[in-house]
């Protein structure tokens, strides 16, 4: 592995401007690394080598003229959920077979406008539905981390499994991802990387294949807190094309990172201490609390009393919204078409052939809870519980808490196919600490905090006030300073 691929985005920025290496050399180093690793890890669905080299060349021209933009020459991987003009965009699904958008998502356009280079499209759970990257039409992604002394393939988490694995295995300097019920934070925790889901409305959803419109949010996965801050600044924008995007200016997130946390109030929610939680998760949480105390923050015990209802409410709201958003995949205007005797036959056969099992399950649950006679009992009730979940957070923030510290996941990464016989609900439990932030629209960051007894990474999560990502970066840096960097040992 070339040393160029080991550089963080902040280091790349310095190195390129200091002309220590060229953008072309850097991109070539990454393309080589991907070539050597992708058969084993399956992180990339498509590698856009020619495009990447052309973009890198263009970056070198700008660098030569002293016109470097914020991410000039930085090679990134893009989750397959983002529409990239002329390039494979299928949300990890068979039903979007052959789809090449004629437009670019706002988030990725922001990145190209800042000079970043596209290495390719990253693997993901189909339509972002999953917590292990095992539901992709393109096969599972393998976590670059392995248990000490073991050689079993582990999951990288999901749905942004490709993004997390690629960043962790140094197959890109950073990646875009999305989080609807934990899909940035959980894979970041499973791979020892940093992932942030910003406040709902912080990043534009225009051009991102929709799963659940009131929950989806784009965000970066990177190797350090600083890198995540650099990426988010470029990704975020107010977008008139997305009516749910907020007209809030994007601050310089990097600037907050070295600010002191003395006097910051860190809330520790008692309801996140779940029955049967592994001792190692509790231990890393306690370590986090000690790190904040040592840095001068004040630890406050808090109660978020509707916490346990967030996951069941999520598994009504998200599938309901998905059933509506996925109705457009009908074989008419794009993607797979299976011929039928009449239009209904075509729809039914196309969708049966095109959607995977988990997607079908969620579309059916969603359709059921929205159907006549059940709408109030399920969907309306879940939306009321959602108001209560949000209110819990609002009360805590109003009482002066700046950020909430909690585990990111209930376990470390598990084996591929190890949950194949389990009930779908068991897989859903992986999201238990993450969905609350999506339900309340709040920003949440996962930062690696330690390893378990098998040597697998464990992450901690911080949840913040709306549009206060700056505090999350500031506080996240405290965890990173204490816990250090996490790099998997290369076995591929």
């Amino acid at each position: 592995m070339s040393e160029l691929t080991a550089l963080s985005i902040a280091e790349i920025r310095e190195g390129l401007r200091g002309r220590e290496f060229s953008a072309l050399e850097l991109t070539n180093a990454y393309l080589k690394a991907i070539d050597a690793a992708n058969a084993a890890l399956n992180a990339y669905i498509v590698v856009t080598a020619e495009k990447a080299l052309a973009m890198a060349l263009a970056s070198d021209v700008r660098l030569g003229r002293g016109e470097a933009r914020a991410l000039e020459g930085v090679p990134l991987g893009i989750k397959d959920l983002f529409c990239t003009r002329g390039v494979h965009t299928q949300a990890g699904s068979h039903i979007l077979d052959g789809f090449k958008p004629t437009y670019e998502s706002t988030v990725t356009q922001n990145l190209w406008d800042d000079g970043a280079v596209m290495l390719g499209k990253l693997n993901m759970d189909e339509f972002a539905m999953g917590s292990s990257n095992e539901t992709s039409y393109y096969g599972p992604v393998v976590n670059p981390w392995r248990k000490r002394g073991g050689n079993a393939d582990l999951v990288p988490g999901g749905s942004s499994g490709g993004s997390a694995a690629a960043v962790s295995a140094m197959l890109c300097a950073g990646a875009t991802a999305t989080d609807t019920g934990g899909s940035i934070r959980q894979p970041a925790a499973f791979t020892g990387t940093v992932g942030i889901k910003p406040t709902y409305g912080r990043c534009s959803r225009w051009g991102i294949v929709a799963f659940a419109s009131s929950l989806d949010q784009a965000g970066p996965i990177a190797r350090t807190v600083r890198d995540a801050a650099i990426l988010l600044r470029s990704m975020a924008s107010a977008d008139p094309k997305d009516t749910t995007s907020a007209d809030v200016p994007v601050p310089d997130y990097e600037a907050s990172i070295r600010e002191s946390v003395k006097g910051m109030k860190i809330g520790v929610p008692k309801e996140y201490r779940m029955d049967g939680m592994p001792a190692e998760i509790e231990a890393v949480w306690q370590k986090g609390i000690e790190w904040f105390r040592a840095a001068g923050a004040e630890i406050v015990d808090i109660s978020l009393k509707h916490t346990k209802y967030a996951l069941p409410a999520y598994y009504i709201v998200a599938p309901a919204e998905a059933s509506s958003n996925l109705a457009r995949y009908d074989g008419v205007r794009y993607g797979l078409r299976v011929e039928g005797d009449d239009i209904t036959d075509m729809y039914e056969k196309t969708r049966a052939a095109g959607f995977g099992r988990e997607v079908k399950r969620r579309v059916l649950i969603g359709t059921y809870v929205l159907s006549a006679g059940y709408y109030d009992a399920y969907y309306t009730r879940a939306q009321k519980v959602r108001t209560l979940i949000k209110r819990d957070f609002e009360e805590v923030f109003a009482a002066g808490v700046d950020a909430i510290l909690a585990p990111a996941t209930p376990t470390a990464a598990f084996g591929i196919a190890s949950m194949s016989m389990a009930s779908p609900v068991e897989m859903y439990l992986n999201d238990v600490f993450c969905v609350t932030a999506n339900m309340a629209g709040l920003p949440g960051i996962a930062v690696p905090a330690g390893v378990d007894s098998s040597g697998l990474p464990l992450g901690l999560q911080l949840i913040g006030r709306p549009f206060d990502e700056a505090t999350l970066f500031r506080a996240g840096q405290i965890i990173e300073d204490a816990a250090g960097r996490f790099t998997p040992q290369r076995w591929w």
Binding site: G98, K100, P101, T102, Y103, T199, Y200, G201, S214, P240, T243, T244, A246, K308, Y309, P312, A313, Y315, I316, A327, G331, V332, R333, G335, R337, E339, I343, T344, D345, M346, Y347, E348, K349, R351, A352, K360, R361, V363, L364, I365, T367, Y368, S371, Y374, Y378, T380, R381, A382, Q383, K384, V385, R386, T387, L388, K390, S423, P424, V425, G441, P466
Partner: protein, 95 residues
């Protein structure tokens, strides 16, 4: 609340997804597991609580009523399985 096989088939038809008898049976079990899991929401007292209709309070953004784009029919049909003269072709819709 639990679903029987007939309900699964009815819901599948609403969602326009063809399911075989075997699939319907497997889905019945899985859907019931999920419905069993969400049952606990009935424990919550939601009296007087409004359902969340907007994640972050914001007025609905409106745009000026002006034509700002168009004339790209080629782009619009570019990914379609079957088209003719910028129409999407589909099997018979009406008897």
């Amino acid at each position: 609340m639990s679903v029987d096989r007939e309900t699964v088939k009815r819901v599948a038809h609403l969602a326009r997804i063809r399911v075989s008898e075997e699939e319907a049976e497997a889905l019945r079990g899985e859907l019931n597991a999920i419905l069993g899991f969400v049952e606990q929401l009935n424990e919550v007292d939601v009296t007087g609580v409004e359902p969340m209709t907007s994640v972050l309070p914001m007025p609905m953004k409106k745009r000026e009523d002006r034509v700002t784009e168009g004339g790209k029919a080629d782009d619009i049909v570019a990914n379609a399985p079957l088209t003719e003269d910028h129409y999407f072709l589909v099997p018979k819709v009406v008897e």
